[in-house]
């Protein structure tokens, strides 16, 4: 009985660097060079996991993880875990990195960041901050079933923030871009324009009023609608949360849970920030349709949850060599057929919420809260006054059913998602969408 039925090993080696310019001063240049391994072993229904920093002795690690699994299973026996089999899939394309960031001199990177920062120093801007980061990671995977794979990724990103002040009133504008890309990230995006946008947003917000809170028709821009998709829909689709009774989408497979205009997709094969060729269980990645025309179509799976639900795995991810967890990759609402103008006309009076300061969700009760960067009052189908400190809250299923129109302009935005104490790169996105009624917080 006390035999380990499976083990796997993730070995990660990485080099990263970060540069921070703050108020014109080069504040930080930091570099890290790290490696390590995370090892899992499964005995009956118990997982043992060990991680070791630096040059790891893998044999000893496998033995250690196995001992943990075996002694756990002895002291708390339970039903055996059957891992789902790997679905038949093809190797996808790897992203092409045009400019290796390590080929660019640090001095030149600093110079570029200085130029970017200058564009954020508009009149009335009190402080600015520009940061850049690059990470080169190599991942080696093998397991007890003979699966062995490896890949390397290059990721880079930058962010710009500007703070405007007027007396005790402080407002910040922020723009960031992260991508599975090398130094060409500065060609794919116009950092100067983004710096100007960050500054303008901060300055505009100084003059904005806080709206009266209440229930209103709302229009969400692609960034905020993306955050809603990720936080409220995506997390509730993670099969581990469904299994532990922590998802409002439990027992809803095959049921209409949203307006028929809504299709939600998670796609790790897209060459976006959430890309990976295979997941942390060595399973080749594939697109998953979570909601199809309003009907809940699939959860996201690890091999363990796929084994239980009979689904397909490929969404087990880990930060570095931490223990893999069911995660999203690039998650978005698919495009609809409405133009932005049509959406506004249809809504007539309401609030247009744009940008995101982040949000949080209780997946079990299906309750969420997001803060928009800013909002505009919509009067008679026209965008009018700017408002600030606006947040959106409500019940996930309620909002999904109240979606009136879905735009054609899907945009993805890169960010970092936290779960189980681990952070992984993701993108989320959507087109513009309108919602008949939602709770907007204000003063």
């Amino acid at each position: 009985m006390d035999q380990v039925q499976y083990y796997d090993v993730n070995q990660i080696e990485g080099r990263s660097m970060a540069i921070i310019l703050d108020n014109g001063k080069l504040e930080t240049i930091s570099r890290n060079n790290t490696k390590g391994a995370g090892i899992r072993a499964l005995c009956g229904g118990s997982w043992g996991y060990t991680s070791v920093d630096g040059d790891a002795d893998l044999e000893a690690g496998i033995k250690n993880a196995s001992e943990l699994a075996v002694s756990m299973n002895r002291s708390t026996p339970k039903e055996k875990i059957g891992l789902g089999a790997a679905a038949k899939r093809k190797n996808g394309d790897m992203p092409v990195i045009k400019i290796n960031p390590e080929d660019i001199r640090t001095e030149d990177k600093v110079e570029l960041l200085r130029e970017i920062e200058n564009f954020a120093k508009a009149k009335g801007i009190k402080s600015t901050r520009v940061s850049y980061s690059e990470t080169i990671l190599s991942t080696k995977y093998f397991n007890s079933e003979g699966n062995e794979k490896e890949y390397q990724t290059v990721k880079s990103g930058f962010s710009i923030s500007a703070v405007a002040a007027d007396g005790g009133n402080y407002q910040a504008g922020r723009e960031s871009r992260f991508d599975i890309a090398g130094y060409e990230i500065f060609e794919k995006n116009d950092p100067y324009a983004l710096a100007r946008e960050a500054a303008n947003a901060a300055l505009e917000l100084l003059k904005a009023k806080t709206p009266k809170g209440g229930a209103f028709p709302v229009v969400l821009d692609p960034e905020l609608a993306g955050v809603f998709t990720h936080e409220a829909v995506g997390h509730a689709s993670e099969a581990d949360l469904v299994l532990q009774g922590d998802s409002v989408l439990a027992e809803k497979l095959g049921k209409q849970i949203a307006s028929p205009k809504i299709t939600v997709i998670d796609d790790p094969t897209l060459h976006e920030y959430g890309f990976y060729p295979f997941d942390a269980e060595g399973i080749l990645s594939e697109k998953t349709v979570l909601i199809k025309d309003g009907v809940l179509n699939s959860y996201l799976h690890s091999r363990e949850t796929a084994g239980i639900f009979g689904g397909e795995s490929g969404n087990a991810r880990a930060q570095g060599y931490a223990m893999p967890v069911v995660r999203m990759s690039n998650t978005y609402i698919d495009k609809g057929d409405a133009s932005f103008e049509e959406i506004l006309e249809d809504i007539k009076d309401g609030i247009y919420l744009t940008g995101s300061r982040g949000g949080q969700v209780n997946t079990g009760e299906g309750v969420f809260q997001f803060n928009a960067e800013k909002g505009y009052l919509i009067k008679n189908g026209e965008i009018t006054d700017l408002v600030r400190d606006v947040s959106l809250s409500g019940q996930t299923l309620d909002i999904l059913n109240q979606i009136r129109m879905v735009g054609k302009d899907v945009k993805l935005h890169a960010g970092h998602c936290g779960k189980a104490g681990q952070t992984v790169p993701v993108t989320d996105g959507a087109p513009h969408i309108s919602i008949s009624k939602a709770t907007v917080g204000g003063s």
Binding site: M72, Y170, V248
Partner: protein
């Protein structure tokens, strides 16, 4: 204090590490650094996780690595590695980075050698070092059975963890310090087994082994049960009582960054230039205390080797000090308050809270409140505007207060406000002081806040 005794499975000799650090510090001068600093930390942790009522995973992790700062012309370069043999190469990397940077006249120096550090009691417990896997599993099982003491309640997820860590710092000023600490913690997330859904969580952390794990499970389950069948709170301005969970969450996302000297110096704090000003109710005092016995963030020195101390941040309503690390202190020409902390060896230090203690005269605040809202936890505190202090968050496990008692649970309530106004409008504190991950606070009542129910 041999790390070998702390980590029986680890073969790394601390004496060898120290010798290696001394050599690398000497080499740094030869390679052009005016000053250098090396930290080495090593930690070992065990975590037991459960999903529903099944204990599923046991984890054991060790992490160890070097973090190096090198100074050239007052510019500070940072490099880190967890590859033990890379120490000298990493020193070179840090120096090379510093050479690229412009001179920084604000940098004074790394902390000077300290005559002797005063130990803090209650941050290291031999019993945590010795905990067996079986004992760790037992703590997790206690949480599960605590949940099940309440009818129709079941855990969704949760876990136990223990950690033992050792931290060593040496710099070219001759400063040398080592500290060690232990921690145990438990977390339980619960839901209803059938019928209407209601969720809640509870969490506790301690430097000593004695922690009531059954109570963690039971508290969470009782709270979820009490929160069943919430009603709408309506909308309006009313008194709000924040449980230590929600109050500490707001402070950590607003006040903490406002008193960070780095933000003050950069014009990113709503409290810049306001030392000596009355910014809060005169009965309120806030103290940052890195010397607090058994404190979660206590230690003999911070992560730059500066002795910890007690810093009154708000004294009887008056803003009396910001929190400093050695760099920001040098810039302002004051002494570091011992608040230079690192997330790990792989990160340069920056200003952070140690133990943040909220003091206000305590009474039976719920009993003294005729009508209002009680907010146990909030979601979305991290979306607050750190500079202006404005926030709009969703209250969870909230209750109506009527005639001095919690009457009905409230579903979905949004609370909007501003932390600086809150500090002025505090008009009561409970007797339920709790240590929430370093913020030590009672429940706090705010005389009036904007509340929007669903």
């Amino acid at each position: 204090m041999a790390a070998g005794q702390l980590f029986p499975n680890n073969v790394i000799s601390v004496e060898e590490v120290k010798a290696g650090i001394e050599k690398a510090l000497k080499l740094s001068e030869k390679w052009g650094a005016a000053e250098a600093e090396i930290v080495w930390s090593i930690g070992e942790s065990t975590a037991i996780q459960f999903k529903k009522d099944v204990i599923e995973t046991a984890k054991r992790s060790t992490n160890a690595g070097y973090g190096i700062r090198a100074v050239v012309n007052g510019a500070v370069g940072f490099a880190g590695t967890n590859i033990m043999s890379n120490l000298e190469e990493t020193m070179k990397t840090a120096i090379d980075s510093a050479k690229v940077m412009e001179a920084d006249p604000s940098f004074k120096s790394f902390p000077e050698k300290c005559g002797g550090y005063k130990p803090v009691g209650g941050v290291f417990d031999e019993k945590i070092v010795e905990m067996s896997l079986g004992e760790c599993i037992g703590c997790a099982a206690d949480m599960i059975s605590g949940v099940k003491e309440i009818k129709n309640m079941i855990p969704t997820s949760g876990g136990f963890s223990r950690s033992v860590s050792y931290f060593l710092i040496m710099n070219t000023n001759g400063l040398a310090g080592e500290k060690r600490e232990t921690t145990v913690s438990g977390f339980a997330d619960v839901t209803t087994e059938s019928g209407d859904v209601s969720t809640a969580y509870d969490y506790a952390i301690s430097k000593k082994k004695e922690l009531d794990f059954t109570a963690i499970g039971k508290n969470a389950a009782e709270l979820a049960k009490k929160s069943l069948k919430g009603i709408s709170a309506g909308a309006g301005k009313m008194p709000v009582i924040f449980h230590p969970f929600s109050f500490s969450d707001i402070l950590e996302n607003t006040l903490a960054s406002a008193v960070d000297a780095d933000n003050v110096q950069k014009g990113r704090s709503g409290l810049a230039g306001r030392i000596g000003e009355e910014i809060a109710n005169p009965d309120l005092s806030v103290i940052d205390d890195g010397t607090l016995e058994e404190g979660i963030a206590s230690g003999p020195f911070d992560d730059e080797g500066v002795p910890t101390r007690k810093t009154p941040v708000i004294r009887r309503g008056v803003l009396s000090s910001y929190l400093y690390d050695s760099y920001t202190a040098g810039k302002d020409g004051v002494k570091s308050t011992g608040n230079g902390y690192r997330h790990s060896y792989a990160a340069a230090p920056s200003v952070d809270l140690s133990n943040f203690i909220i003091e206000y005269p305590q009474s039976d605040i719920i009993a003294e409140t005729k009508k209002g809202i009680y907010i146990h936890t909030i979601i979305g505190a991290h979306t607050a505007n750190e500079i202006s202090g404005d926030f709009s968050v969703e209250g969870r496990n909230a209750f109506l207060i009527e005639h001095g008692g919690l009457t009905k649970p409230v579903k979905s309530v949004m609370i909007s406000g501003n932390v600086f106004e809150m500090l002025k409008n505090i008009d009561g504190a409970g007797k339920d002081v709790r240590n929430v991950g370093g913020v030590v606070t009672p429940s706090v009542r705010i005389s009036e806040m904007s509340v929007i129910g669903e």
